[in-house]
């Protein structure tokens, strides 16, 4: 065999945009992601499939919030569409959306615990609500009564977790609609560039920003407010921002790539230092062992628009590594979402002429870009 094989390739590290460049892009309303037709195609389509997945996730989480309160064996918690033999069969065979991933995100959000929602979970009002719920529930549930007596922390913590589940469901409802609307506008050519994508997300987030977040459960016909309207929790600040913090930035270390060994000290003791989120993740190990987002990639693959699927066919290994390709596109799209979120929360309009406001904008951009510097900036190329 004459050597027709490829030589080992010493790949040169691409030049990544530096912080100054990122600040410039943010302040000049240029998308962080390079504005190319390929990027547009990937981002819009992958967000559409993500939107469809989020739709299912969101319905499920909201349903769980409504029905699974203090259920010790929530065996059927993934059957928000109702239980049929066919569905159970598909569920067992794995022919379904992997709701486990939604719970994984919820867990990240719950565990990192930042923002207004988390603060409210420790408030006296919330604890009072918990007491009421437990008391009402215990009347018909001796197991709960006993557990609560022996382990008083258990039930309130479960309610906290379920509250986060419900709120994440509400959050994803908005995001799902936003992403599916993006795809609609893309098809009617209202969205023709990555910049339009960022604008769409920014506007959507701004529009939903003040959306109130409330949660009410009913026990034996009696309705109890877990998150009452008076708590004043809103969509953007109290749920969206903590979600971005927990899932996009911090994340949780993957067992498949990081050792939990305490003596090896691979994981920082300070969880605010965590850099395991979506913007930091390496897409290559996707679908490997111990990489939870593989589930999400699989779900998105189930809902992949034909256009993007065809595009993947012509790139890299085609269908063989389609999940990795989805992950790469997904990371790009998450940079767009982050971009939209930063743009939406800018202290002042970008074209302000007031030097003080300009300064404030710049400081805000600096703050965010300094975090983005450690992220996988090669996704932006």
């Amino acid at each position: 065999m004459t050597t027709t094989t490829t030589r080992p390739l010493q790949v040169e590290a691409p030049t990544l945009p530096d912080q100054e460049e990122l600040i410039r892009r943010l302040l000049s309303d240029t998308p962080l992601l390079k504005d190319t037709p390929d990027h547009l195609l990937q981002v819009v389509n992958v967000l559409e499939s993500y939107g469809l997945v989020l739709d299912a996730y969101s319905r499920n989480l909201v349903d769980q919030g409504e029905k699974q309160l203090l259920n010790p064996f929530p065996v059927m918690r993934f059957f928000h569409e109702g239980i049929t033999v066919q569905r159970i069969w598909d569920h067992l065979l794995g022919d379904r959306i992997n709701f486990e991933y939604a719970e994984y995100c919820q867990k990240a959000m719950f565990w990192h615990g930042t923002g207004g929602l988390d603060a409210y979970l420790d408030s006296e009002a919330f604890q009072q609500a918990c007491r009421t719920i437990i008391q009402r529930k215990s009347r018909h549930d001796p197991l709960l009564a006993m557990t609560n007596r022996l382990y008083p922390g258990f039930a309130p913590e479960s309610i906290r977790s379920l509250t986060t589940i419900y709120c994440l469901g509400l959050f994803w409802r908005v995001m799902s609609d936003l992403f599916i609307d993006l795809a609609r506008r893309y098809r009617i050519k209202e969205v023709v560039s990555v910049k339009d994508v960022v604008h769409h997300i920014r506007d959507g987030l701004v529009a939903a920003a003040a959306h109130p977040i409330t949660y009410k459960v009913s026990i034996a016909g009696e309705e109890i407010w877990v998150l009452p309207p008076e708590a004043g929790l809103t969509f953007l600040v109290d749920v969206a921002v903590p979600y971005v913090e927990a899932v996009f930035f911090r994340g949780m270390p993957f067992l498949g790539t990081v050792s939990y060994n305490a003596q090896a000290r691979q994981i920082s003791p300070d969880i605010s230092d965590f850099k395991y989120g979506a913007l930091y993740a390496d897409p290559i190990p996707s679908m490997g062992a111990g990489i939870p987002p593989s589930l999400c990639m699989k779900d998105m693959y189930r809902n992949l628009p034909a256009e993007l699927n065809r595009w993947y066919d012509d790139h890299e290994r085609g269908q063989v590594d389609v999940h990795v390709q989805i992950c790469v596109s997904f990371q790009k799209s998450m940079f767009c979402v982050t971009n939209g979120a930063i743009a939406g929360t800018m202290p002042h309009v970008l074209d302000t002429t007031d030097p003080e406001e300009q300064q404030a904008n710049r400081a805000y951009a600096e703050h965010w870009t300094s975090r983005l510097m450690g992220c996988r900036r090669e996704a932006l190329l």
Binding site: T2, T4, I284, S286, R317, V320
Partner: protein, 496 residues
Amino acid sequence: MYLSLLLLIPFLGALALIIWPGSASSARLRELTIVLLAVQCVASFALLLPFDPDQAGLQLVEQARWVHVIGLDYALAVDGLSLPLVLMNGVLCLVAAVASREITNRPRIYFALLLVISGAVNGAFLAQNLLLFFLFYELELIPLWLLIAVWGGANRAYAATKFLIVTAVSGVLILLAFLGLALVTGTMDFSLRPILSGEMGMTSQLVLMGALLIGFGIKIPLFPFHTWLPDAHTEASTPVSVLLAGVLLKLGTYGLLRFCLGLFPEAWQVASPWLAGWAAISVLYGSLAAIAQTDMKRMVAYSSVGHMGYVLLAAAAATPLGLMGALFQMVSHGLISGVLFLAVGVVYARTGTRDLNVLRGLLNPERGLPLTGSLMIIGVMASAGIPGMAGFISEFLIFRGSLQPFPLATLLSMVGSGLTAVYFLLLVNRAFFGRLAIAAGAVVNPRILQSVPLREQVPAIALTLGVLVLGLAPELLSGLSEAATTSLSQLSGGLS
């Protein structure tokens, strides 16, 4: 006539390929070769029908006078010792042809040479005349040399020349020993059976056997005659490596059993303690040298040195069990090294490197080579003697058969078996475990790693299945050969 068929198919096939009119594409020629070798393979397995496993002696004897004046007669026969090797030759040549996908340079000659090798090896295993054996033994040498020299890697000239010179020396030594045998016995008959060394003096026996031993020792190869092998493997293409390790080395071990042990049982008995020691050194040396390798293919090549040492150990002990183990080891090593070389070949073809300091994380399910990795893991585990696979049975039989006559050498060889696990684990852990590097700054760019279609893996999967089947149902093989190995052992007075 039946055995001649096994020679005629490949030889006539090779001729046909050469004179095939018009220009045939490489793919076409490959298909033709595959068909021919498949027929040959089926014909080899068809031998099982008339073959009587309970009979120790030669079967299906074919004889014809040829150049009778110099004692060269055409005589073929098969027994329990040669039959498994003929079967393996049939399988591995077919595998090699199937694996020869990317032959663009003079495919016609390439495939013809492949066929010639296949026929010559069959001839050598079946020959019952010393000169006929020698003819076939030399006949496979030239095509293999060309396969390395023309279709090899960058440093192929050096490797091929080294191979040629060293194995030519091996041939000369063997020829000298055969001629000397005739000289001493004073007959002109080179047919295998009537030659009895019984009346010879021990000195001449030892000298002649020594010449044979070194001759075959080079081929096997045993330390210190082994250095041609890693070089040849490194430069040879994958199919050639499969043949080289799987079939051609077995000519050496076969010769060891058939001629050294078979012709000079008394001298063998005298020399056997030294041989056992030599075997242990060869095993340990091969294993240790393998640990230091960073080239996957060289590592597998050195493992052959170690694993062929077991055969010498068992042959030295010459117990029925040991000889069965030796035969088992020849077959299982043939299959296992086939798997390993095929897997290494895939890695090299896809990444462009075999350097263990560079490769990482190839088990990655979508961007790596997961199936190749799985086959590799099975292959190395089989090679390391994990039960359930063919390698274990052969090692167990060899060790069990050799422990009583040569306890120390056997224990040292077992250490070598432990070392096998060390280097092969290094290989798997470095190349397949870990994280596949991402594009930026990485040495291996996953972008160029193309996936491997399943059909390209069929040969390796088939061999792996063979390894597992033999490992779980060893009776399949032992049943065929027990009579033959036992009688061979009795010949030398069986040291047990």
